[in-house]
Amino acid sequence: MSIEAMPPEDAVRGDVPVLEVEELSVTFARRGEQPTRAVDGVSFSVAAGETVGLVGESGCGKSVTSLAVMGLLPRRGVQVGGSVRLGGTELIGAPDRTLRRLRGSEMAMVFQDPLSSLNPTVSIGTQVTEVLVEHRDMGKKEAVAEAAALLDRVGIPDPTRRLKEYPHQLSGGMRQRALIAMALACSPRLLIADEPTTALDVTIQAQILELLRELVVDSGTALVMITHDLGVVAGLCDRVHVMYAGKIIETADRHDLFARPRQPYTGGLLASVPRLDAGRGVPLTPIRGSARDAIPWAEGCAFAPRCDNAQDDCLTEVAGSTVPLEYDGPGRELRCRHPLTYPAAPAGATASGAGR
């Protein structure tokens, strides 16, 4: 593992990671319906100043994971298992009051659609000051001044005027900036960004990512970046967890993941993204089928119906056990029976995660 990939703060701040998720599982059980397990035994941790990516196609359980961490899933009809610790404090099963106090102050979230995440009939100013009044015990006047300062910090010009405006009067990028300002108003230790750029124009996407990097990464906030876009991962994440059908199927640091994806699914994701270093003529190959083709993990590898490497022993019936998530070299984990392999690296090349 390359040393530069290590988050700088990690070594300094040391022991307890900001966020520790262990064996998190979420089951939706509505009356009269078959229960569905949306998140299944997910474990990861995020240290201060570190950016961890959760990557996967739509429907793989990324948003449900983030809502479970924030304690935002409804109580009724949802079972959450496992452990989520924020700075060592257990959140699963914590009382609502405790969670509410932590949300917005210690942990915060930025959502996909900035327009619908803002109340259309309430001014930006009211929505920003609300957080300050709630968590920082500010008076109205003080909060307004601070709100203007916050908008200024996220790069919104003429913040005093903007505070009086309503969400529809701002551009998409401005709205997301305002939401980032609200999320960071109390300098939380953890920020979860759930596809924060998906609803934005391509040119704006890069600006928002740059803003997040400036505000979060440089200040030592732990960032969980949820995305289906590997371009976002490449630009921001230190470590990446690839999810499929509710489970983590591959974990690696960013460089290793891009250089040598081991899971055929990860390989497929990378192959379907345009690459700058690839020749013009190289065609993009999307993964065949869709996420709906997954089989239950209990029956075998959920990706098997779409996998080019699949063999009989990918099914539980044949192998006698489900596919486990296993150590796959330093800093890597893998859930696959027949991973992608690479020719032995010649001397001098990065040797991490080399194939068998």
């Binding site: 915060a108 995440s117 309430v122 309503y166 969400p167």
Partner: protein, 310 residues
């Protein structure tokens, strides 16, 4: 019967807080108003409503005569009631009183009962709806079960029972009609609050640790009000018709010093063969004013609904 009413209410509730692309805040109200002004149906409804409101407000100045003075009593004979003539544009009633003046004064009573009972019904209904919508869970279940039972009772039947129970006076009448409106507003507000509670901005506010009370009263409630405003306008029409119906049945205000359309209609029944105009005019007033409120309410609904936007 109850099912149809529930469905109608729920449809209206589902439209709450849907904001057209590129609108919001103050401009939302402004653009709804602009749409309203361009709609001829809305203008017709508004004109009717305003005319009746003005007539009711300025009745003493607008009525040509004293509505109680039996000026033409001497001309009333069995089988003949004086028709339109000089100074009596619509003729007189069976006691020789000027019909036009009685209609003008009658508007006061009808509109007053309509407005007071609708406001009362809306306020109490909204309080019940907020209770259910804010707490959810078993509070919601219990309250809404009760509301649905009320909704399944035909409203006129309920109004009759209540006004019989409360005795015969105009306040009993207002309360009786208000009670029939309570479940409508309760279900409506609860439904639209529920729709809002599942919205992204509520989730985002919760993710920021904004407290429940503030989310309910600062975010959810204001966005849930537009169907309530629409319903209130429509309810005015219902309330006026119900008030007239109750008076017609003899359950209205017993004070004969206050002419009222429903009571006039009831009295006119006995003279239908002699002078049908005595029934036609108050009936027409009831229908037209109810139509005015309905037209205004329906166009308000369209104006506030992004789906109808051109």
């Amino acid at each position: 019967m109850g099912d149809v009413r529930r469905q109608r209410i729920d449809e209206l509730a589902a439209r709450a807080g849907r904001v057209p692309e590129g609108e919001g805040g103050v401009s939302l109200v402004r653009s709804a108003f602009r749409r309203l002004r361009r709609n001829p149906v809305a203008i017709l409804g508004a004109v009717i409503v305003v005319v009746f409101l003005v007539v009711a407000a300025f009745a003493p100045w607008l009525a040509p005569r004293d509505p109680l003075a039996q000026t033409l009593l001497s001309e009333v004979r069995p089988g003949a009631i004086p028709g339109p003539q000089e100074g009596f544009p619509l003729g007189a009633d069976q006691l020789g009183r000027d019909l036009l003046s009685r209609l003008v004064y009658g508007s006061r009573q009808s509109l007053l009962i309509g407005v007071v009972s609708t406001v009362l019904g809306a306020v109490v209904g909204m309080a019940v709806g907020v209770l259910a919508g804010a707490f959810g869970g078993w509070v919601d279940t219990v309250v809404m079960r009760f509301v649905d039972i009320l909704l399944s009772i035909p409203s006129l039947l309920m109004a009759i029972s209540i006004s019989v129970l409360l005795g015969q006076n105009q306040y009993a009448l207002m309360i009786a009609i208000a009670v029939t409106q309570v479940p409508v507003f309760a279900r409506l507000l609860r439904g639209s609050m529920l729709a809002q509670r599942g919205s992204d901005y509520v989730l985002a506010a919760r993710a920021l640790g904004v407290r429940h009370g503030r989310i309910v009263f600062g975010h959810v409630l204001p966005n849930s009000l537009s169907p309530v405003i629409v319903q209130a306008t429509l309810s005015l029409a219902t309330a006026i018709i119900e008030a007239a119906a109750l008076s017609f049945l003899g359950l209205g205000d017993p004070d004969i010093a206050r002419p009222e359309w429903g009571a006039m209609l009831a009295t006119a029944q006995a003279f239908l063969s002699v002078r049908p105009a005595l029934a036609v005019w108050p009936a027409l007033c009831i229908i037209v004013v109810a139509l005015g409120f309905t037209l205004l309410g329906e166009s308000l609904r369209e104006a506030l609904d992004p789906k109808f936007r051109r």
